[in-house]
Amino acid sequence: MSVDEATVRHVAKLARIAVSDAEVQKLAPELSNILGWVEQLGEVNVDGVAPMTAVIPNTLRLRDDVVTEPDRRDDILANAPVAEHGFFAVPKVIE
């Protein structure tokens, strides 16, 4: 798979990473190389093989639907870049 620059821009958009023109030019061949290399998996016969879902067999545990944490609002906000009035603050979303 050859990744063109438009694809790089699209993927960067999906990943929410701003990329400069210079980065796009550098990333296109890099991603092409890596994807070209992983494509060898296509030659493996996987007929009847289920995709792995758990590396070590384990059962998903259920817990009681109860509150397990006390109010830790201040802890949760302690590392926020901007917190106001007990909330995370972000740029205006709706004009």
Binding site: Q40, P51, M52, V55, D75, N79, P81, P91
Partner: protein, 493 residues
């Protein structure tokens, strides 16, 4: 007291218990070694106050007849583990200044066992790298140098590069590492130390900054097999806060250590003999086979037919999981925020992530985003999960015939800083022997085997059945006794 930094985890624990020296003396000795070792850039944060407080508590506990399993042992903690009130960056600019308000389960377990923390250890950014060169906080230097007098700066491997360098340079008796696709074992091999990745689920992932959650597993790195057993016993255990934690009792690995492996069947996977690997790697592998045979093991050739697909499988699955896990770095809840003038929320996300992530992390997030995107999911991600199942099946089949596998840990000795950064795939190939056991969740250890012609350490890997850390440790002990590896890097720093 001089000489304490020549002692490892168990020896310090025993020395404190016997009263040969105090825990404070041990902490002071290692703090001195850590400070003297600053040119290696292994630690990103030093916490001598933590180590001293734990040491004083250990001395008080001894006076009260109340010693704990790791009382008096100062440890280094990889900067991937959240440590309450102590900066935790995962090697990324994105988390510079981040001070968690909680403690990871693994570090909490170690501290509850009486250990102290010397500091936080440098690493590849978000554990993505094999040379510690992707850290936002600078390269870590290996204490080892080639014997050609050239003094070329060598990598300690990665991603647990600071961890490996700290143990090899005698700046810590033992450290935590994490291993997603070889990040404990490859640096251990590069620096002549021992490191074990336990079975997936043995150590809680809670509070460990996530990279690829189906692969991430913590483990100890130390100077010998016994020290790894001692540390792993304290680190492991069921944790309800990790949904993939194994609800099993922690075995008494140290007490059950035995180098009597007579009658064990050790498989040599023929697919691990790959082109382009230096002859010295093959030679040390042959030597390792001879040592295990000498220990009474029966050597058997086995086949793991899908081995060549392990690395490409890993480089689909790990980036896919990373692209999802690292979506949390959005400039809102913690970490860096970059807010362009006049920009909206999406502009903030994009600017924050552009500024906060380094090149390798961006590359992997984008690969992961691509392979999970509409139209490509089946061809890449689903196919990789099917091949992963075949790789795990290969191991299951082999373990019907043998108890353990012996392979090289890495395809070369440590390389020079800068030598492989230009070619991502060449860098990825470092983990060609380590990744298959990661994909199958199996316990695997790297033990030092000898030096190459340039005087650099080479390691061999022993892989065991799921949950058979004991078998792995015991074979590693038998190996260690025969290898007699007592080389160490000459202090030049």
């Amino acid at each position: 007291m001089s000489g304490i930094t020549d002692l490892g985890v168990a020896a310090i624990r025993d020395g404190v218990k016997a009263g040969t020296f105090s825990a404070r003396e041990a902490a002071v000795a290692y703090i001195g070694a850590m400070e003297a070792g600053r040119p290696l850039n292994a630690f990103v944060v030093e916490t001598p106050e933590h180590a001293l407080a734990a040491a004083d508590a250990a001395d008080a506990d001894r006076a009260a007849g109340n010693l704990k399993p790791l009382s008096g042992v100062p440890l280094g903690i990889k900067d991937l583990f959240c440590t309450a009130g102590v900066q935790t960056t995962a090697g990324s600019r994105m988390l510079e200044g981040y001070k968690p308000v909680y403690e990871s389960t693994v570090s909490a377990n170690l501290f509850a066992a009486g250990a102290g923390m010397l500091g936080k250890l440098n690493m590849d950014e978000f554990a993505m790298g094999s040379s510690n060169e992707t850290s936002a906080f600078g390269n870590v230097l290996s204490p080892w140098r080639r014997n050609d007098g050239g003094n070329v700066a060598l990598t300690p491997g990665g991603s647990s590069g600071g961890s490996a360098s700290a143990v090899a340079a005698r700046m810590a008796p033992g450290v935590t590492g994490t291993d997603t696709g070889g990040s404990i074992r490859q640096p251990a091999a590069f620096t002549g130390i021992t490191g074990i990745k336990p079975t997936y689920g043995r150590c809680s992932r809670w509070g460990v900054v996530a990279f690829a959650s189906s692969l991430d597993q913590a483990g100890p790195m130390a100077r010998d097999v016994k020290d790894c057993a001692v540390m792993l016993e304290a680190m492991a255990g069921f944790d309800a806060k990790d949904s993939t934690s194994l609800n099993l009792p922690v075995p008494t690995w140290e007490a059950a250590l035995s180098s009597d492996i007579r009658g064990k069947r050790v498989g040599i996977p023929k697919e691990y003999r790959i082109d382009g690997v230096p002859a010295e790697i093959d030679a040390v592998w042959e030597q390792g086979i001879a040592w295990l045979r000498d220990a009474g093991a029966e050597i058997v050739e086995v086949s793991l037919p899908h081995t060549k697909y392990a690395l490409p499988t890993y480089y689909i699955i790990a980036p896919a999981e990373a692209s999802s896990n690292l979506a949390r770095y959005d400039g809102v809840r913690y970490g860096l925020r970059v807010q362009p003038e006049q920009g909206g929320l999406n502009d903030m996300y994009e600017a924050t992530r552009a500024a906060g992530f380094g090149a390798e992390v961006k590359r992997r997030i984008m690969i992961g985003t691509y392979v999970l995107s509409a139209g490509f999911y089946d061809a890449y991600f689903n196919q990789a999960q099917k091949v992963r199942a075949l790789i795990a099946r290969d191991f299951d089949t082999a373990f019907e015939d043998v108890d353990l596998l012996l392979t090289p840990t890495a395809p070369s000795a440590a390389f020079g800083i800068g030598e492989k950064m230009a070619d991502p795939i060449a860098m990825y190939l470092n983990d060609v022997f380590a990744v298959p056991a990661s994909l199958a969740g199996l316990p695997a250890i790297s033990v030092p085997a000898g030096l190459d012609g340039q005087g650099l350490p080479l390691g061999l890997q022993i892989i065991g059945r799921a949950l058979d850390e004991q078998g792995v440790l015991n074979a590693a002990l038998a190996f260690e006794e025969r290898a007699g590896f007592n080389h160490r890097a000459e202090a030049w720093w």
